[in-house]
Amino acid sequence: MTATQQQQRLSPQAEFRSGFRDITPLAFGAAIYGAAFGLLAAQAAMNGLQTGIMGMFVFAGSSQIIATERLVAGAGSLAALVAGIALNLRILLMTASLRDELVGRPLWQIMLGVHLTSDENWALMHATRAKGRTVGYWYLVGGGACLLFVWTMATVFGVTFAKILPAPQAIGMDFAFTAAFIAILRNLWKDVGDLLPWIISISCAGSLTLFAPIEPSWALAFGGVAGAFVAGVIPHD
């Protein structure tokens, strides 16, 4: 058992609050993106109620954006749905990797936990843990609750005030999540054993995006799995 695991665990309430607080910079990014999604929803002739229900129950920003953009482009609801679902396949890998947090919990906590899993709070939980803090399920749920609230409010705000809001590109805000994931990746770095899987993931995902006739979301999932596969087959002390 390492020193980290011997640390005193926070109470569920304290861990929830800590997750809620630590996600704030990312929630700020989600607010900008939510407002941008609202602009798109307005173009797709969605009203505030529809936008709010979608944000709360789908709660997967990039797939909502892709699917709604397809609808605006006139692709039809079925094609839009397929695009959105394909983009969410990476969530399968994310909730699969939450085994240690979820197994053995009551059903309602499992159902809540998987719904509140997003790229941001899932990655932040792993990054916070890699920094040496003992956080888990309630940290994830606290971050997810904050993001769900901010995301839903921002999308409804965006669709309601679509006519007067600037596009996020105009103020550099489209780069917010790229920068956030760079910081999270830096905090996920444990030791030199991470290097080979990461390089394989980056090379696979990058080259597939550039040269293969597939959607970038498939390149992402394939690259992630390729790196993890290599780590699995190579024994590492």
């Binding site: 529809q50 890998l93 998987v114 790229t178 899987p197």
Partner: protein, 97 residues
């Protein structure tokens, strides 16, 4: 049902099935050995892959801003500072390039 409602209901159901499916898959896999090693590195691998996809689709502006953000991330490990540096860098580069 309108196209909008078909999309909302369909994406809600499809996304939730993926979420719960991942949990069921993860719960069935062994907790030690190759599978455990693979799942331990999966977060870093997925985020590396995500950044690779974003960066290769971007322009010189995004490459420079991402490099600046990476330096700040390595030096500070701070989420907020890295986000500020990246956003300000991309904003300035777009204004002057």
């Amino acid at each position: 049902m309108t196209d909008q409602w078909i999309l909302i209901v369909g994406l809600t159901i499809g996304t939730y099935l993926i979420r719960i499916g991942g949990y069921l898959l993860g719960a069935k896999l062994p907790a030690t050995g190759s599978w455990a090693r693979a799942f331990a590195v999966l977060p870093g691998c997925l985020i590396s892959a995500l950044l690779a996809v974003i960066v290769v689709q971007g322009s010189v502006t995004e490459w420079v801003a991402a490099s600046i953000a990476l330096v700040i991330a390595i030096l500070t490990r701070s989420l907020a500072l890295t986000m500020c540096a990246g956003i300000i860098a991309v904003w300035i580069l777009r204004a002057y390039l």
